[in-house]
């Protein structure tokens, strides 16, 4: 086990050097895929019983060797990383390489990104974990910055770097508070934080890991940064990096802070997660760029997972272990499902962007005829993301909603009310996410092509098709085998909730223990498949009529005029038009929207135009006040520049005396 992990890490570091040289990028990415398969194998072996106890490495900081371990929780997240990393690496190998300097930067950063994420997951001391986290942040920034040497993409990269540094600093402070006895996880567990220190740890983890997950109000960078990178990197950031941050949150809040934390710990997580889910689902309906819409859908899913994590903390604080296991099972299963379908959707979007030439739905359309493989995979992913019953997203979101419904079992009135309100918000977010998936599929794959590029697109072939089929197959398997998979991850629940906890699973069914509600994915899938087969049989064989091809999905508009062989774009519904009802009715929750109706002057032949400008409220309510505060502070600090030598000396002397007085005071007290 240790050998396998070590080989994979060394290989990834070697591949980073290789990638930096820019030679044979395809073989380099295939090597990354092999490493990801190896790490996934290690995770699977550890889940099946071959856990790796904390092992010191021959390297490390000066004061202690680095420790690595692979318990069930780490193994579960390693599996998630492999599930995203393997197809993403294959897709990277299949994509045409960018120009040389970009290819070299990406070739160096991509394996480092993978290695950083894996290092966070297998680390068993705070130092290694933070080292991996920072490597992950920096490498992912490199992947964004490499594509954008200047312009708005560069500003996005800078915004992302700012948030990455912020989250790293918060996590460093969090570990400093956790570890008075030592940075090793075992030492931290023996002395869990209490009182104000525990509260500070909660706040710092919420800020640090939370801003990496994209929790409101620190979500503004995510819909900008995730789509800005190349497609495989986007899939990794949206499918795996946020999960790594979720792992850090689980590890620090549920494992290292000890089981004795109070009930209210979960409440901020539930509230913030619900807000994030709603904002993400809303924005997914309003984005013009398909990758940005998928990134917003990531916000929605991560919000739901954080709600589940908060609920698990609440139930554990209220000493309701089976319910805590239910909520935690929902989180773990949804993390795995989301990794599967989100990487699938991102890779499909990347295939569309590279083969049909655009990421703007208003330049796509009708691709189901030209790209049946990509369209099929995207439909499977979208059905999973929309949580339709037999597909993979449904099982985990069903568990999550069930655990929210069980919120009344906690005696506190505040928790009951919050759970009820969160149930409503989460339901709304899930519904909106389904609407976003309909919009994605309908605009990109259905209807008529809107441009010649879209009409002439080719289907994904070879390696690219394989890269799409892997997560598609995983999603399909997870849909039917959700319960055995969660049972395999039962060890992770035991790591966090104690040896008595077990996953809410019986055989091939997901069950709620004594309550009796039960979801049998195999039965639902089987019945639906039977119905589909019967209908197909009836239509094909029993019908007297010949099949005919009807008009395309055109929203009731007229057929295209004859002089536009590819169809008039204006005769089909556009992305903004499809999102308009949601924007008008709910958009103001997440976005500050300005609509301007520009009427042409009398006598002019110009058409009237409706201009919509939207800005996330996170920018206007959080980032801009912070920017103003920084400006004010720097203006104040400017006053310090024009002082005399004696005043400077006096300032430092005064500071010294005040600190000494503080020391004297603390010693007395």
């Amino acid at each position: 086990m240790l050998t396998l992990l070590g080989l994979c890490f060394l290989a990834l570091l070697g591949l980073a050097v290789w990638g930096g040289s820019g030679r044979m990028p395809r073989a380099m990415f295939l090597g990354c895929a092999a490493c990801m398969a190896g790490l996934g194998l290690a995770g699977g072996l550890a889940l099946a019983g071959g856990e790796l106890p904390p092992t010191p490495l021959p390297i490390g900081p000066p004061w202690a060797p680095s420790l690595i371990a692979l318990d069930a929780l780490s193994a579960w997240f390693l599996l998630i990383l492999a599930l995203v990393g393997l197809p993403a690496s294959l897709f990277a190998a299949a994509s045409p390489p960018p120009p040389a300097p970009v290819a070299r930067a990406e070739g160096a950063a991509f394996p480092l990104f993978l290695a950083g994420m894996a290092a966070v997951i297998v680390a068993a001391d705070g130092f290694s974990l933070l080292l991996g986290f920072e490597a992950m942040s920096l490498a992912s920034w490199g992947l964004i910055a490499a594509r954008h040497p200047r312009g708005p993409g560069r500003r996005t990269a800078r915004l992302y770097l700012g948030f990455a540094i912020f989250s790293g600093l918060c996590l460093i402070a969090g570990f400093a508070l956790l570890a008075p006895a030592g940075l090793g996880f075992a030492a931290i567990r023996t002395a869990p934080p209490e009182g104000w220190r525990a509260g500070m740890v909660l706040v710092l983890v919420l800020l640090g890991a939370g801003s990496k997950i994209g929790l409101a109000p620190f979500h503004v960078w995510l819909p900008l940064a995730h789509p800005a990178a190349a497609t495989p990197a986007s899939a990794l950031m949206s499918g795996a990096m946020v999960k790594v941050a979720l792992y850090v949150m689980l590890r620090m809040l549920m494992d290292l802070s000890g089981p004795a934390q109070p009930l209210w710990w979960g409440l901020p997580l539930v509230a913030v997660g619900a807000a994030t889910a709603l904002i993400g689902a809303l924005r997914a309906n309003l984005e013009q760029d398909i990758k940005a819409a998928l990134a917003c859908s990531t916000l929605e899913n991560m919000g739901l997972m954080v709600v589940g994590l908060g609920l698990a903390l609440v139930f554990r604080g209220a000493d309701l272990r089976p319910l805590a296991a239910l909520a935690l099972g929902a989180v773990l299963l949804h993390a795995l499902n989301h990794a599967g379908f989100k990487s699938l959707l991102f890779l499909c979007a990347g295939a569309v962007a590279s083969l049909a030439g655009s990421r703007d739905p208003d330049r796509l359309g009708g691709l189901i005829h030209r790209m049946p493989w990509v369209a099929g995979c995207a439909m499977l992913g979208a059905a999973s993301a929309a949580a339709l019953p037999p597909f993979s997203g449904f099982a985990s979101e069903w568990l999550l909603l069930q655990s929210l419904i069980q919120g009344w079992r906690v005696a506190e009135m505040s928790v009951q009310l919050l759970a009820a309100a969160t149930l409503a918000v989460a339901g709304m977010a899930i519904g909106l996410a389904a609407a976003a998936m309909v919009r994605f599929l309908g605009l990109v794959f259905l209807g008529r092509p809107r441009t010649p590029m879209a009409a002439g697109a080719r289907d994904a072939t070879g390696l690219m098709r394989a890269a799409l089929l892997i997560p598609a197959a995983a999603s399909a398997l997870l849909a039917v085998l959700a319960a055995p998979m969660l049972a395999l991850g039962g060890g992770a629940i035991r790591v966090l909730l104690g040896a008595n906890a077990h996953a809410p699973v019986t055989g091939f069914d997901l069950v709620l223990g004594e309550v009796g509600a039960r979801y049998a994915p195999w039965a639902v899938a089987g019945l639906l498949a039977l119905a589909v087969v019967l209908i197909a049989f009836a239509v094909r064989r029993r019908s007297k009529l010949e099949p005919t091809r009807g008009p395309a999905w055109d929203g009731g508009f007229m057929p295209p005029p004859a002089h536009l062989p590819f169809g008039d774009p204006l005769s089909q519904v556009s992305a903004a038009g499809l999102g308009q009802p949601i924007r008008r009715s709910l958009g103001a929750i997440a976005l500050g929207i300005v609509e301007r109706h520009e009427v042409a002057p009398p006598g002019s032949a110009l058409p009237a135009a409706l201009r919509v400008e939207a800005e996330d409220r996170g920018f206007t309510h959080v980032l801009q006040p912070l920017t103003r505060l920084r400006r004010t502070l720097s203006r104040e600090a400017e006053l310090l520049r024009n002082l005399t030598l004696r005043v400077y000396l006096s300032i430092s002397f005064g500071t010294l005396v005040v600190l000494l007085a503080l020391v004297a005071l603390l010693e007395r007290g």
Binding site: T644, L649, F653, L660, A664, R668
Partner: protein
């Protein structure tokens, strides 16, 4: 080892004398007397170092004492005196604050140093504790001198006091390696050379040793 035993008493007397001289440096107006007090403090430091070397049986402290005597007791005061004689008349240098206030501040600083050091070092030897308290007081007094003095010479005196306090603290602790002593003495020599250069530059450019005159010539537009 405690009060009433010879090693402790002598070390205490020497440290106390240095502290006293620091107060002298804080209020002394006349440049000649200021240089004399500096020299006296250097000699006292040398004696304290030699005494500590004898008490601790650490011969390297004799070398420290010799360096202190040669540099701070003799060479630097001589240099300063010659510079004063050649560059400016023996006239009073006025402190910025009143003497009473700065003396009061000095007393408060000594009290603060004792309040900080004595509880923090419970368990250490009594000699080391008293020594550290006095050393910290001298350092703080040196800083105060640097602030209250307007002239370059006054600031040099403050810097020297500060450094003497550091060295006193270092020799009072058993087992401090000699290397650090040598480097500190070298550092101070460099600093004094720079300060001398600075004073000369001031004198030649502006015909004054007042550092406040530098302020308008800093080159960063106001």
């Amino acid at each position: 080892m405690g009060f009433g035993q010879l090693p402790y008493d002598v070390a205490h007397v020497l440290g106390g004398a240095m502290l006293l001289v620091s107060f002298v440096l804080l209020y002394q107006r006349r440049t000649a007397a200021l240089v004399n007090a500096l020299a006296l403090q250097g000699v006292l430091l040398a004696a304290a170092a030699v005494w500590q070397g004898y008490v601790q049986g650490a011969p390297q402290l004799y070398a420290t004492g010799l360096i202190a005597l040669a540099a701070k007791g003799i060479a630097i005061p001589l240099f300063l005196r010659r510079m004063m004689q050649s560059r400016m008349p023996d006239r009073a240098v006025e402190p910025a604050q009143s003497i009473g206030l700065s003396m009061l501040g000095g007393v408060l600083l000594v009290a603060l140093a004792i309040l900080v050091v004595l509880p923090a070092t419970t368990g250490a030897r009594a000699l080391a504790r008293e020594d550290l308290a006095m050393a910290l007081s001298i350092v703080l007094l040196g800083l105060l001198t640097m602030i209250t003095r307007r002239s370059a010479l006054g600031q040099v005196a403050g810097l020297m006091t500060l450094e003497n306090g550091l060295v006193l603290g270092a020799v009072g602790v058993a087992g401090m390696p000699l290397v650090i002593e040598l480097s500190t003495a070298g550092l101070v020599l460099v600093v004094i050379v720079i300060a001398g250069f600075f004073a000369r530059l001031l004198r030649e450019r502006f015909d004054s040793l007042d550092t406040d005159m530098l302020h308008t010539h800093r080159g960063e537009g106001r």
